[in-house]
Symmetry: C2
Subunit: 251 residues, 2 copies
Amino acid sequence: MGLSKNRIKYIRSLKEKKFRSEHNTFVAEGVKLVFDLLATCRCQFIAALPEILYAHPEIKAEEIVEASESELKKATFLKTAPQVIAVFYRPDNEIEIIDLNDKLSLVLDGVQDPGNVGAIIRIADWFGIEHIICSEDTADIYNPKTVQATMGAIARMKVHYTVIAAFLQNYSHLPIYGTFLEGADIYSEPLSGNGFIVMGSEGRGIGSEVMKQINRKLFIPNFPVGRATSESLNVAAATAIVCAEFRRRER
Amino acid sequence: MGLSKNRIKYIRSLKEKKFRSEHNTFVAEGVKLVFDLLATCRCQFIAALPEILYAHPEIKAEEIVEASESELKKATFLKTAPQVIAVFYRPDNEIEIIDLNDKLSLVLDGVQDPGNVGAIIRIADWFGIEHIICSEDTADIYNPKTVQATMGAIARMKVHYTVIAAFLQNYSHLPIYGTFLEGADIYSEPLSGNGFIVMGSEGRGIGSEVMKQINRKLFIPNFPVGRATSESLNVAAATAIVCAEFRRRER
C-alpha cells in the first residue's frame, strides 16, 4: 500500500504538456475539485488520506491508493499538501459546428498565463457559457495551475483547441465581439445572446488574422469616463466585466 | 561597472517581506513598469541594458548601473530576463480619515494571492478608485509578483494596511458594501458614488468582525438567473464586475 515512488513520479511528470498528451490525463488536487471532477470525468488514479477514502466508499477509479501526508506532500504541485490527489482522463470534446449557433461562446486568442485561463473558465461557468474555443498557443487547460484555478468549473466546461481564425469563418453570420481601446462603449451597444466574445493575449492582444473575423468592436469604459489612459485591464478582469454585461442584458 | 554579486543578492533578498520592510524598498522589472514608477516613486537603484540607459538620459536614481543580459537574468524574478530592474523606495501613504468621505474606496479582507492583489490594484486604477485599505493578512503589495501584476497601476494607487474592522467603524455613516451569495441583486440595488466595497479572502470570505461593519449586501447574479450553484467567482473577477457596475451607474 501507500503511494509508490513510481506513482509520485508519474503525477509529477504530468506538469509537462508532453506527458499529459502522451497519457491523455491530467492532475487535480484537493477534496472539492477532485469530487467535482469525479462526477463528470473518468478517474485513472486517486491517492487520498485514509479518512477521505473511508468517508467516500462511492469513489470510482481504476486505482485507489491510501496515501500518507508525507507521500501527498512529495507528489503535490501546491504549497500545502492536499488530502487527495487524482489523475483523470481528459474528456473527449468533439466540436459540432452546428452546436454553437444559438449559444454565446468565448474564444481565447493566445492567452498565455495558466492562472488567467483558469479564472476565465470559472467566469464562463458562472455566466452559463458552455464552450471555450482556444487558439493553439493559448495555455493548456490541463496545466495543473489552470486546473486548480478553475475550482471545479473545468468539470463542466467544453474547451476546444483549434485554428480560431478559420473556425470563426464558419460563423461570420453571427456577431463576433472583441474588446479594444478604440471600440464602442459596451454600455451603449446592442449585445447579442448568441455569437462569440474573443479575448486576446496579455501582451499582444488579438492577432491580425483573428481580427479580420471580428465584426463588433467593444470598449469597457474607464472612470471618470473619457480619462486618457495607456493602461488596460487584465484579460480575466476584462472577460468578467464583458460576460457580466452580456448576461445582464439578457435578463 | 556591471551588476555586482552583492547587488544581485540585494535584489533577490527583496522577495522576502522581512527585507523589503527593513530596507523600505521594493523591486520592479521591465521597461513599462519601471518608467511608470520613475514618474512617482524615488528610485534607489536601477540596472539596465546600456541601450536603455543611453535612450533615457533623464533617468534619476541614487545609483545607475549598466548591466548585461546575463546579469539581469541572475537578478530577475521573471521567467524571461527584463531589460531593466529597479529598486524603489516605498511611498509614504499616510491616511487622512477625512479624505475618504466623498470617495469610493476598496477594502481587502485577507486576500492572500499576490497575483489577485495585483489584478485588483489594476482594476481599481481603471475605475478611478484611489485608495485601497487592506487587512494586515492581505498579501503585501510590494511582493514582486504583485508589483508586476499591477502593470504600473501601483504607481498611482494609495494602499494602506490597517485593522479594517476598526477602520470601517469610523465610516459607519457611509454605505459599506460586500458581496455574498445571499446578498441583493447588484443590478436592482441603488449603488453609491462614495463609501467602501469590501472584498473577502479567497478561502474564507469576509471575516466576522468586518462583517459587522457591512451595511449593504450585494450579489452578482449568475446565468441563467437563479441557477443553483455552490460556486463563486475568483475575487479579482468579482472585484472587476462590482467596480464596473458601480461606475456604470455614475455615468
